[in-house]
């Protein structure tokens, strides 16, 4: 699903052509520069992004933006092929786990060279670091998010199960809650579900046990013991009934909110990226409660961190780096642009802007924003840039965790194999 947007852009470039046959290319001052911007997401995000881009083009009549978007998985593949073909987009959404795969191979522009255009003073240190490799800056968070637990209050009310207190609950509380929901619904609704292999989930659990999933120098910090405990905890919930039986999660469903089990009403709670709260809430009937991750209060160190759904990066081969950085600066620092774009990519990275758009948000949208602003005020462990090869880790864990799910491997075996596989993937 690729859409070309911006009829206004078409009009402008036609006008530029009309001026004469000479040149053709657009390095001359005053001619319209066309930027290509790509990202992943859905139609709602497209609409909001386009609204912001329309504002940008009005403020910068010399620049037109042609944008393309896709779902996250095909996006990843398409981006790789575009770089391989030597025709990378100018401005692009970059996954945090792929940043170094591109940056270390020289595919991305060091944004610190353009500090005259790009103003990052409003972005807090922890957030800015998400796009840093050494002292070079290859990406700016398009917004900030974290993960959270959502509970469908309509279902818990129906079955008379109390929702635990999100600020103090433990993983045991989650298991007890889930068990109750499943039992009281007569196994029609399962208490909770989340993917064992989603690294963001496992990372919170790892940090709570006092370890870093990735260490500051880009090594694997998670221990075998933590992996075993994580997998065993899920299997225990499964045996007790709070977690759905093997085979419940269909690998073909994908991760879109409207196809989630939460939306179908077959589970009562789930872990989500907070920037998707709005969409999940809409899909699940509008009565979701957002809790912090379990185990935060009792943990050795806080597990949650401030992350970004995507970084904005500029290709090092862009013919118009200045204009691309100008657009990037607009996306980060322009109040009107931020208002138009809303919180589809998380809370704005610029905290001044975040405060300003908060007032304009719908009540629904404020839930996740408040949640994140609350987290930002606390002292959380930093997240480090993912080392090269990290995009392979999900695949390795996903295959092993389904072996555990179907009883073909013990958690101990899976943990051992994961560590071996992950180390090999990161070493390469």
């Amino acid at each position: 699903m690729i859409r070309m947007a911006g009829l206004s852009g078409l009009g402008l470039s036609l006008a530029a052509c009309g001026r004469g046959f000479g040149g053709g290319d657009d390095d001359a001052e005053g001619d319209a520069v066309q930027l290509n911007m790509v990202w992943w997401g859905d139609a709602v995000r497209a609409e909001k992004t386009q609204a912001a881009l329309d504002l940008f083009q009005r403020k910068h009549p010399g620049i037109t933006v042609k944008t393309e978007y896709q779902d996250s998985q095909p996006y990843k593949d398409k981006l790789a092929t575009r770089f391989a073909a030597g025709e990378p987009p100018d401005l692009l959404a970059m996954r945090t786990d792929s940043l170094r795969e591109y940056a270390d191979r020289g595919a991305l522009l060091d944004l610190s060279q353009h500090s005259g255009i790009l103003d990052l003073t409003g972005v807090v240190e922890n957030a800015r670091r998400l796009g840093m490799v050494g002292d070079k800056n290859y990406g700016v968070p398009s917004g900030l998010n974290s993960i959270g637990f959502v509970v469908n209050k309509t279902l818990t009310d129906k079955f008379g199960v109390a929702i635990p207190d999100g600020n103090s609950w433990t993983w045991d509380d989650l298991a007890a809650f889930a068990r109750q929901v499943t039992a009281k619904s007569g196994r029609k609704v399962y208490g909770t579900v989340f993917e064992a292999a989603t690294l963001a989930n496992l990372m919170v659990f790892t940090r709570q046990r006092g370890e870093d999933f990735y260490t500051a120098d880009g090594k694997l910090g998670v221990t075998e013991g933590t992996l075993v405990t994580w997998l065993e905890m899920i299997e225990k919930m499964r045996t007790e009934g709070g977690f759905p039986p093997p085979g419940f999660i269909d690998p073909s469903i994908g991760s879109s909110p409207d196809k989630s089990y939460l939306a179908k009403g077959t589970v009562a709670s789930q872990i989500i990226p907070t920037n998707n709260f709005l969409t999940y809430n809409k899909a699940a009937g509008g009565n979701l409660v957002l809790l912090r991750m379990p185990g935060e209060a009792a943990a050795r160190q806080r597990g949650q961190s401030i992350d970004t759904p995507a970084l904005w990066s500029v290709s090092s081969k862009s013919k118009h780096p200045k204009e691309a950085v100008t657009l990037l600066n607009f996306l980060i620092n322009d109040v009107d642009g931020a208002k138009a774009a809303g919180t589809t990519r998380g809370v704005p990275a610029n905290s001044t802007i975040a405060g300003e758009i908060k007032a304009t948000l719908a009540a629904d949208d404020r839930t996740a924003t408040d949640y994140l602003i609350g987290l930002q005020a606390e002292k959380l462990p930093p997240s480090y840039t993912y080392p090269i090869g990290s995009s392979k880790l999900y695949g390795i864990l996903s295959s092993l965790s389904s072996e555990v799910e179907f009883g073909r491997k013990t958690p101990a075996q899976a943990a051992k194999e994961f560590l071996a596989g992950a180390r090999a993937a990161l070493a390469k």
Binding site: A80, A84, D250, P251, S398, S399
Partner: protein
Amino acid sequence: MSVSSDASTRAGTPTPPRVDGVTAASIRARKKLRNDRAGYLFLLPWFLGMLFMVVPFFASLYLAFTDYNLLNPPGWIGLENFRTMLGDAKLHQSLKVTFVYSFVSVPLSLAVALGVAMILNRGIRGLPVYRAVFYLPSLLGGSVAVVLLWRYIFGLDGVVNQFLGWVGVEGPGWTSDPQYALTTLIILHIWTFGSPMVIFLAGLRQIPALYYEAAAIDGANRFQQFRSVTLPLLSPIIFFNLIQSLIASFQTFTQSFVMSNGTGQPADSTLFYNLYLYQKGFTEFDMGYASAMAWVLLVIIALLTGLNFVAARYWVFYDN
């Protein structure tokens, strides 16, 4: 080509041979030239297509010996990619999946295709309609839409499990349980028996009714007729279908890509060779390795096809 049309040609007045030999030869030569030209003209699209094929073809041969991450220029590493393959457990898993899939689904789908073709060959009214209906799945089977449809049929609360529920059986996760996921894809493949069926049907129609009559007079029952008349006379067609289906099944990609969202899950049970190749090239940025894998697949298919041609000497019967 039927008996009657042959007979009428033979019965028609033969054209008298030309007296002037030279003229006849030059006419023949001109005719041949015209024929050749037509032939090359028909081949032209293929040649044009080949231009687009040849470059990537040899490029991938070169890349197979390099370390190429799509972003930096490829670097020569000799046989390293092939050496890595020997110890790559995931690659071995993908080979296992592909071999199991091919060796189970190809014979089964050919058997179904032949069975349906024989039923249709018994002169049912409305044959073209049936033929079209049975052929339809093989046009659609590899398409995304149909695989999506199958997801709903075989989903945890899909049609199949609802039906099983009525008879008191709790159905498994056909696409989410590693024990069944590949089976589901094999069933999908068998369902697309249409194109070998159409070819079988054409082959069956070429077997003269005469042989069956003779066999019946000799007291052969239906099974004996099938074994001693149908199978030997149809063997070239079976051979053709076998080769075609085997090659196609080794290249399976779409079905598992859609069914598992490109992951080969659950537990790598639908990790087809081509899907793994794709993952290597496009999600892990190891295009050198992916190219090497493509060439290994080519060799595997060539070997299997070669083996089949050798084996064919012992079971394929050519009439003429």
